[in-house]
């Protein structure tokens, strides 16, 4: 599998590097491009699909996971696209953040469609008011709240599917490289709401409808380890240190409120 060469700068003198590469580029080299420009990933998706085709097709379980992910990404991509199109909704100073996030969701959709090929489902019909419950594209606060809920749900959703991808390690890896980006999105949206980037014990300002997004995230016992026993860190920070997964049913109960068909 091709990788961008992370060593491109290794053989140059630091001063030369400094002249030719801005600090931002250098950061980007560490922060992102080691494995992944979108073109690479979409090409990889096609290659992955072909590899499965040669071995009798993609296992049904893998198709199911990818389709589930595609539905969530379509929901997110449409949400940001509609939000950005709504004049006056998103303040100018934070608009670029949502352009970045929306652009990523578009890339995730393209990747998953490519990976699924003919198995890719149509984009669902969506109602972001959830039948009139939310004034989503009229209120920036509501838009932000839903963005947070979608991102926090999305990253938990990906990980809940990980056990089903054990026999497909390439797909697992690709799903995780999307998943951690969803977590980054979630963190930045949370900070726009003056919350911590991580998920504390309580969710101030969140309506009851958002409760399922954070269900089961207050655990201090993880995988048989009682963290209050083995760690001297306080309980709030213990629970923040792990993001628990959600299973497909839990995710669909949340996302389903916004899916008409």
């Amino acid at each position: 599998m091709p990788r961008l060469n992370p060593n491109a700068l290794a053989n140059l003198e630091p001063e030369v590097v400094n002249q030719i590469a801005s600090r931002r580029d250098a950061l980007r080299r560490i922060g992102g491009t080691l494995a992944g420009a979108a073109g690479f990933s979409v090409a990889f998706a096609a290659a992955s699909r072909e590899a499965f085709a040669q071995s009798g097709g993609m296992p049904e379980q893998v198709v199911e996971v990818l389709q589930f992910a595609l539905t969530l990404e379509q929901l997110e991509a449409t949400f940001y696209s509609m939000g950005l199109d709504e004049e006056g909704l998103i303040p100018d100073d934070v608009r670029p953040v949502f352009e970045v996030i929306g652009g990523h969701e578009d890339e995730h959709v393209a990747f998953l469609e490519e990976a699924l090929g003919d198995d890719a489902g149509e984009a669902p019909e969506l109602d972001f008011t959830a039948g009139g419950m939310f004034d989503t594209f009229e209120s920036y606060d509501t838009f932000l709240l839903l963005a947070q809920a979608f991102e926090d749900t999305g990253q938990r959703a990906y990980r809940g599917q990980a056990p089903k991808l054990i026999e497909a390690p390439d797909v697992l890896e690709q799903a995780l490289t999307i998943h951690s980006v969803e977590a980054r999105h979630a963190a930045v949206v949370r900070t726009l709401r003056d919350l911590t980037g991580w998920i504390p014990l309580d969710q101030p300002g969140a309506p009851a409808a958002a409760a399922p997004v954070y269900a089961g995230m207050d655990l201090t016992e993880k995988y048989g380890v009682d963290l209050t026993e083995v760690s001297s860190i306080e309980e709030r920070q213990i629970t923040e240190a792990f993001d628990e997964p959600l299973d497909m049913e839990e995710v669909l109960a949340i996302a389903g409120q916004f899916i008409v068909s």
Binding site: A10, P14, H104, L176, W198, S231, I238, A241
Partner: protein
């Protein structure tokens, strides 16, 4: 703030950018050597026995890999929270939270590993200027992104072990997922503060890296006194 005022940060940074050139076994430095210089691949460092060898054909090896990185991160934030006093109240609170999370990860992994845990590692932060916001931020961003890439890249090894009916591997895979999400949150929060005016550093790409263990260890080695080696760590290997 220009690079000229933070030479230590830049040197560290460039060392990291090229660190994977050093290969997996010969990278790094012993206690009696000058640290922080990456070794060109064509010019192997003097052979030294590794102090720690991480075997990616075992779940304990993969978990110890995580344990090593979490130790490094926890030690970094411990020192940050002791020495770095600028940046404002919110930033200071974020740094305390992040440091606490890393310590929880260390404590969790130590508990899961039990007698299989590698010894405590000794960090080397000579390259970091703990009084300098830019140096602290850049090092934090580097460590968090390294963590994200490391966990993402380790998943396939745990998947392989799980498919071979290794008992601990499925748990390790899920735990690693729970942790990497939080590392990504850290990277996002740190990245957003790197360069005001740059809007995408919280998530520089639509796809995060999945880094091979050898690259991660080579990048981390300059910050660790003990010499770390990896084995059975080819992502495409069987």
């Amino acid at each position: 703030m220009s690079f000229h005022t933070v030479p230590l940060g830049r040197r560290r940074f460039l060392a990291l950018s090229g660190a994977s050139a050093a290969g997996l076994i010969v990278a790094g430095c012993g206690e009696d050597e000058e640290p922080a210089q990456t070794t060109p691949a064509e010019e192997p460092a003097p052979e030294r026995m590794a102090d720690v060898t991480l075997d990616f054909a075992t779940t304990a090896g993969v978990l110890n890999y995580a344990y090593a990185l979490e130790q490094l991160e926890a030690a970094f934030y411990t020192q940050v929270n002791k020495e770095f006093e600028a940046g404002g109240e919110t930033f200071q609170a974020q740094l305390r939270d992040i440091g606490a999370h890393e310590q929880v990860h260390v404590d969790f992994l130590a508990a899961i590993l039990g007698d299989d845990a590698i010894p405590a590692l000794e960090p080397n932060f000579e390259m970091v200027d703990f009084a300098n916001r830019e140096s602290v931020l850049q090092t934090a961003f580097t460590f968090e992104n390294l963590g994200v890439g490391a966990y993402n890249g380790a998943a396939r090894f745990l998947a392989r072990l799980a498919s071979q009916d290794d008992e601990l591997a499925p748990t390790a895979l899920m735990a690693a997922g729970d942790i990497v999400a939080v590392e990504a949150r850290h990277a996002s929060v740190i990245g957003a503060q790197l360069e005001p005016g740059q809007d995408d550093m919280f998530a520089p790409n639509a796809f995060d890296p999945a880094m091979p263990p050898a690259e991660v260890v080579a990048a981390a080695q300059p910050f660790i006194v003990q010499r770390i080696a990896v084995t059975n760590a080819d992502p495409q290997g069987g």
